[in-house]
Symmetry: C2
Subunit: 282 residues, 2 copies
């Protein structure tokens, strides 16, 4: 009997996007049983490949009962939450009890919402773990992921962008920035990384690179203050394509402090489009 086999099933509370699927698959591929709570309106079709239960955002009692019934002790939660109006949420008995605290937390954004849900689950005796512990294979390692590496100028931009992201993170602002030849082109706040990258394309051309002469780097790193159980920065193949579309030279993420979904596909796409993707030790 392997170490993985004696572990209780991993409970994955899944909302939208590719991250919860990547976690569930990575845990299963590592030999661990997985039980998925699929959040209604957010989770996607892939959940049918795992033992699972659909729960509404307000059905907290049902969710807890399903996780206990599946024998889960460790749970992780991941994904993007499509929010209905709070007035549309159907609350079960447990939902009624915890809703006021979660609604208050949710007004501060997804971070706050996730933290509040984690606390609720932990009060019920589950142990909440981060995606990086549930699926260590997703964590970014140090070094380049594909064939390309930053040149000397890119290295300077990477250092500048990391400084900006860390400083912003201490103020709880965002997780990402773009710097090109020393000039900060964009800084992420509530709009998210994809929207931030997209607006590079609207800047005057002399500020930015083009497909045939790439310039500038995207850096993503966790906020120093954030709870690493919930929300490490994530990049995937879409991030590489978005960065390529606006002429960036590459992407740098904090080694051990960010997740890459589909590392092989990301490396191949970066090679194909002519960008570097690199994990950098803080």
């Amino acid at each position: 009997m392997t170490t993985a086999a004696v572990k209780t099933p991993l409970g994955v509370i899944a909302s939208g996007g590719d991250l919860p699927k990547a976690i569930a698959e990575s845990a299963r591929d590592g030999g661990r049983a997985v039980f998925v709570i699929a959040l209604t309106g957010s989770a996607e079709e892939w959940v049918k490949d795992f033992p699972h239960e659909w729960c509404g955002l307000g059905e907290v009692g049902k969710l807890l009962k399903a996780l206990k019934g599946a024998g889960c002790e460790e749970i992780t939660m991941a994904g993007k939450i499509a929010r209905p109006k709070f007035s549309d949420i159907k609350l079960d008995w447990k939902g009624v009890l915890v809703a006021p605290g979660i609604i208050a937390a949710a007004r501060k954004g997804d971070d706050g919402l996730l933290r509040a849900v984690v606390e609720t689950v932990e009060r019920e005796g589950f142990r909440a773990i981060g995606a990086q512990d549930a699926a260590p294979g997703l964590l970014v390692q140090e070094g380049p992921l594909g064939r390309l590496k930053p040149d000397a100028e890119d290295e300077v931009d990477i250092a500048t962008a990391f400084k900006i992201v860390r400083t912003l993170g201490e103020l709880d602002v965002g997780q990402a920035a773009v710097v090109s030849e020393g000039l900060p082109l964009a800084v992420e706040a509530a709009e998210g990384t994809d929207a931030m990258i997209a607006r590079i394309g609207t800047l005057p051309k002399h500020f930015r690179g083009q497909a045939d002469k790439r310039r500038g780097v995207l850096v993503k790193a966790p906020k120093p203050i954030q709870d690493r159980k919930t929300d490490l920065p994530v990049i995937g193949i879409a991030t590489v394509r978005n960065a390529a579309a606006v002429g960036l030279a590459g992407i740098a993420v904090e080694a051990g402090g960010a997740l890459i979904l589909g590392q092989k596909a990301v490396a191949e796409e970066a090679d194909k489009l002519g960008l570097f993707v690199i994990g950098v030790k803080p």
Copy 2:
């Protein structure tokens, strides 16, 4: 003879937008003669109301000769520069001499371009002064400009946003941020304030205010490191309208560290739309 009358004419190197016009009018209304260098392709029709000379971006010799001919000793420069391709710029003899340094500086953005032009002009014996010295009437005073004032929650958001803007300014990132109920909604880098405000409207509705229930503040403040001769933050009636359109509760700028164009019109528009505009001592 008043003090103003003994001064040499103020030389205003004018590119686009409302700021150079406001400076020229403010100086003239204060009793000082004004001579305008109108930059071809950027400066606007109003220059015909002043003694002026049109100069291309590369006609540095012509520009210097015109300023000397008009008896100017102090010059100020302001406005947005519409950049042609560098290859389209017609260089006169002086332009050829200074172009390499200015082109290199321009790659770092308008800040760098303006600093390089200021240095060029000062090497020719002129004294470059900031808009706030050329037209002190444009400087933001402490206190509310219109009828409305920030409430207690707005005050907290103002303090948070100032902290973000100052920290960003130390890293030479930007001059503006929007915070709503403690949540940083947007941070300015190279895109400029108008684009930054506009994207508030694209954020999920629970993050932001609406016309009937305004939330969140825009803060603008100079970078602590910047040369105050060139680029103090500016707001005008368009800033008030843009902030109103995305549901913000108000605008706070650094008293003595920002310019307001058309203070009376800005106050009236803020009152009409239900926003506060306030100068805050750092």
